[in-house]
């Protein structure tokens, strides 16, 4: 592995990443002649970090295969083939229906796992490459020696994921480069496994998926600690500022800049340029998706418009005067949409050039001229500093002329257009959420636009309806126009990303969490491919915060949660504190900040339970899996990144719930509650095998409805390690939600009762009846582990 010994050009013999060792046989350089120099620098870091190295620093793609197999034995893939064919090579297409093998010998199951691996590789590559850009950018600005400081004084365990996976303790920006090298080699190796005629075993492919997820998690941590450190974001701050959220927060009398994407440097440069030229109050910076969150972590002046699904509607509203895109989750037709509202367009990433001329080397004056005059609808500028200047200048110059011209329609125009509808239903058949468009068009012809405006909330803004309409009816525009009143009321407050979790917070909640007395950590993350709008995420979030779970969030979900108001008109962020504590709603930040949620789970093992982190993945994952009642919820998971993020959670033993669209991820990882033999653990103290019940029941689960999801979330928070008191609390929530949402007391409570202390008092009678009916016998609560060697350790 390169990261173990990196050997460079003549002279340098060998250079190892961990316990660095440089030997020169002979070296003639400017400053003299050295012979047989041996530098052992490893000691330095050893001194500062006394933690012993675990068994798997910088693990290879199969180093954790045994752990993966443990998980996959309990949660074997249930395949939901998204295509019966394979089209990956020119032997294909191959028909893989049923037991048929493709021309390379692969089966339908392995093919699904292979596609998942491909997706997670894409996801991991995206975060890693994003991290690479951020680190590079930060080093360019501040030097490799710039200290990493994601948590200020409040955080001692600073990069839990990197420590856990890589076995190193990064202290400066430059330290992250060795990590990136490792990550990139792993992505390459994993991707290679997807090649025709490579890995063909479905479980080995799934193990590689888990590896990709772990790599992705490290990549996210690298990205976020680099940007927190370099850009001075809130540092593990529960009181990170509340910022404006929603289209209606924008003052449309001023020039408005829209930034879409994930890689924040161009946005920051815009903010800096405004500040340097005292224009902060003159020009509004608005954002969609993760760049939006990250720019508000830099300055609370910026405004978040909405999640990924807000792109079309915001652009078509005509409000933005200039559109700047960086990377990831950007509509590929954004340029086309920008042209329609005459908003100059600036692409800023090598990864997303959009066919635009590269003007990076040109003087700002010339670029501004070409954009303002409309000579060029858009340009590519790869220098963030130049982006800052050009964007602001163009925004100020075009804004007066543009006068926020958008594509919104009057009711009269809507009626007119709706009349062209032939009720062919192509739109509805193209709509991912099967929305009743033809019906609403019919209503609209009669002047009733309520049906159309009602769709606004549940529409994911994909535009497929318009693409499908043979009459070229601008359906999405009709929907948003009909809902223009709703749009005009989108005025919320969102807590911006606080970053990591403080050690002191962990210390405080570690015990209650591991014992089960705080019923769980529920993390709402991921994209906006919601089945019924973003409101559902907010509702779930509030429900669990109310129940005093610790609620975390990030990315598009964090934005959706903010777009909701309770009876008092308060958003969840205004109602619940931002602390990592029972009843808190913790927005960690953009997608890459997800690493802090994993990091919190890891830190519980380290800070609360004093387990060694360093290169000790398997033990820590086993710890988290058996003791930390955390659940990820990606209600609108859409992307390959979301797939990778979920995989990272799985390997750490944290189950993930997705919405119904999540079945398109090609397979679930489901346990079999009804198979008792699946649910034994080793007792670390005694070495006995103990039945602990199906906790957590699933590793990857797609819920059909919000209600089903909530019940499952409550259930998935149970862990073998729960104390009686803790289990009783968790069961109370589970039963309560089940009753309320599904109408009955669950019939599987008996599986979760180990001793009578587990039984919640409220439903004692009914539960006792269940226990009797199932010949329940009391059991012990073990010190649970799936790892044989954990027992041996105790024995010694």
């Amino acid at each position: 592995m390169l990261s173990i010994y990196t050997t460079l050009n003549p002279g340098v013999e060998r250079l190892t990443g961990k316990g660095i060792n440089i030997r020169f046989k002979e070296l003639q350089s400017d400053i003299g002649f050295i012979k047989d120099l041996e530098l052992s620098i490893g000691k330095l870091s050893e001194e500062r970090w006394s933690e012993p190295q675990g068994p798997t620093p910088f693990p290879s793609i199969i180093a954790l295969r045994n752990w993966d197999r443990q998980l996959l034995k309990r949660y074997p893939p249930f395949y939901l083939p998204f295509c019966d064919l394979c089209c990956l090579c020119t032997y294909g297409k191959c028909d893989l229906t049923g037991t048929k093998r493709g021309a390379c010998g692969i089966t339908i199951g392995a093919q699904q796992s292979r596609m998942v691996l491909l997706a997670t590789c894409i996801g991991a590559a995206t975060h890693v490459s994003h991290a690479h850009e951020l680190v590079e950018c930060a080093i360019r600005k501040y030097g490799a020696g710039f200290p990493l400081d994601p948590g200020g004084l409040a955080v001692e365990v600073e990069a839990p994921v990197i420590r856990l996976v890589c076995g190193i303790k990064p202290e400066k920006l430059g330290d992250l480069e060795g990590v990136l090298e490792y990550l990139e080699s792993q992505v390459t190796c994993l991707l290679s496994s997807v090649h025709t005629g490579q890995e063909g075993d479905n479980l080995d492919l799934e193990s590689k998926v888990l590896h990709a997820g772990m790599i992705d998690q490290v990549g996210m941590e690298v990205a976020d600690i680099a940007q927190i450190s370099a850009f001075g974001y809130p540092k593990a701050d529960p009181d990170a500022p509340l910022v404006d959220l929603g289209m209606a927060t924008v003052d449309t009398t001023k020039p408005v800049i829209l930034i879409i994407g994930h890689n924040v440097p161009p946005a920051i440069s815009i903010v800096d340029y405004l500040a340097a030229h005292r224009l902060t109050d003159e020009v509004t910076v608005t954002g969609i998706c993760c760049t939006a969150i990250d720019v508000t972590r830099y300055t609370a002046n910026a405004k978040i418009i909405g999640p990924i699904s807000w792109q079309l509607r915001y652009i078509r509203s005509g409000i933005p005067d200039v559109i700047v895109v960086d990377e990831q989750c950007i509509r590929t037709d954004a340029l086309y949409e920008a042209e329609k509202i005459h908003a100059p367009f600036i692409a800023t990433s090598e990864k997303n050039c959009m066919g635009l001329p590269n003007r990076t080397q040109d003087p700002a004056d010339a670029i501004v001229r070409d954009l303002v005059s409309g000579k060029m609808p858009g340009v590519l500028i790869l220098d963030p500093a130049k982006v800052g200047e050009v964007t602001v200048r163009v925004a100020r110059e075009v804004a007066p002329e543009r006068r926020k011209v958008g594509s919104l329609l009057s009711t009269k125009e809507i009626i007119e257009l709706a009349r062209n509808c032939t009720q062919c239903k192509q739109c509805r058949r193209a709509c991912p959420n099967d929305l009743h468009i033809p019906e609403s068009m019919k209503a609209a012809t009669k002047g009733n636009t309520t049906m159309a405006s009602d769709m606004y909330e549940v529409c994911v803004g994909c535009g497929r309806c318009e693409q499908a309409c043979p009459q070229n009816i601008p359906i999405h525009t009709i929907i948003i126009s009909a809902a223009s009143r709703t749009m005009g009321e989108e005025k919320f407050r969102c807590r911006t990303g606080r970053g990591a979790i403080q050690d002191v917070e962990i210390r405080k909640v570690g015990g209650p969490l591991v014992l089960g007395e705080i019923p769980g950590v529920v993390a709402f993350v991921g994209c906006a491919n919601y089945p019924k709008g973003g409101k559902e995420v907010a509702e779930m979030c509030v429900e669990f915060a109310k129940r005093r779970y610790i609620v975390c969030t990030s990315g598009c979900s964090a934005i959706s949660i903010g777009m909701y108001r309770d009876e008092e008109g308060k958003t969840p962020y205004e109602q619940y504190p931002g602390s990592f504590d029972a009843g808190g709603i913790v927005n960690v930040g953009s997608c890459v900040a997800n690493a802090h949620i994993a990091g919190a789970a890891i830190k519980i093992a380290s800070i609360f339970a004093r387990r060694n982190l360093r290169g000790n993945y398997e033990e820590i994952a086993d710890y988290v899996y058996n003791r930390v009642g955390a659940v990820g919820v990606a209600w609108g998971a859409m992307s390959q990144k979301a797939a990778a993020i979920a995989s990272g959670f799985w390997r750490l033993g944290i189950p993930v719930v997705v919405g119904p669209h999540g079945t398109k991820y090609r397979r679930m990882l489901l346990g079999r509650a009804d198979r008792d033999e699946d649910w034994y653990v080793h007792d670390r103290r005694t070495g006995n095998e103990v039945y602990v019940g199906p906790v957590p029941e699933h590793l990857f689960f797609s819920a059909e409805t919000k209600e089903e999801a909530m019940v499952m979330i409550a259930k998935l928070c149970m862990r073998p390690n729960d104390t009686g008191k803790g289990r009783a609390i968790k069961l109370t929530h589970y039963i309560d939600l089940h009753k309320r949402l599904l109408g009955t007391i669950p019939d599987d409570i008996y599986r979760y009762v180990r001793t009578m202390t587990d039984v919640p008092i409220t439903e004692k009678e009914e539960i006792t009846r269940q226990l009797h009916a199932h010949d329940w016998v009391e059991n012990t609560i073990p010190d649970p582990t799936l790892l044989l060697w954990q027992i041996k350790k105790q024995e010694q």
């Binding site: 998204f82 193209a430 669209h661 409805t705 209600e707």
Partner: protein, 179 residues
Amino acid sequence: MTAIEPWQTAEIAGPKRASVIIKPEVADAMIQRAKHPVLIIGHLAAAIDLDDHKMIDYLLLLAQKGHIPIIGTGNTNRELQKRGYREGGIMPAVDIGQRLCDPTWKGLDGKEPYDLAIFAGLPYYMEWTILSGLKHFAPHIKTMTLDNTYQPHAHWSFANISVKDWLENLKAIIENLEG
């Protein structure tokens, strides 16, 4: 031909696709031939209007006439309860899908493996993916859907039919079961 295309345009299946239930008798025959059928009702069944009733009301009728056990997915059970139906099993759709792939699984009632799984009222794409799983991994079980949209991964499915035709068909199926 349009009628036997997947309802959601892009959800094209592979070479093996559902036979169309061209008349109610087909569905009845399947149900009557089954030793241990199960009716899986998704949450949309309670949202979809059919006549003055909801789809779920017809499904309940069908289950009762045909002595078919019901499993409610999503939050369907609440709707069943509302209608006084208390025997419904509760299970998430993906869990049922997974269980059905196990030829030794004896069903929620513990009697014997289901041999016919009838789906209705799930979101189209979710039913599509679950039926896909069953098509590939549950060769021992027949699948049918009673939605009014063509589900290519089932063994039997209606074509994309109008609500009117659908209602007629459902009524006929229920009626025939009585006989």
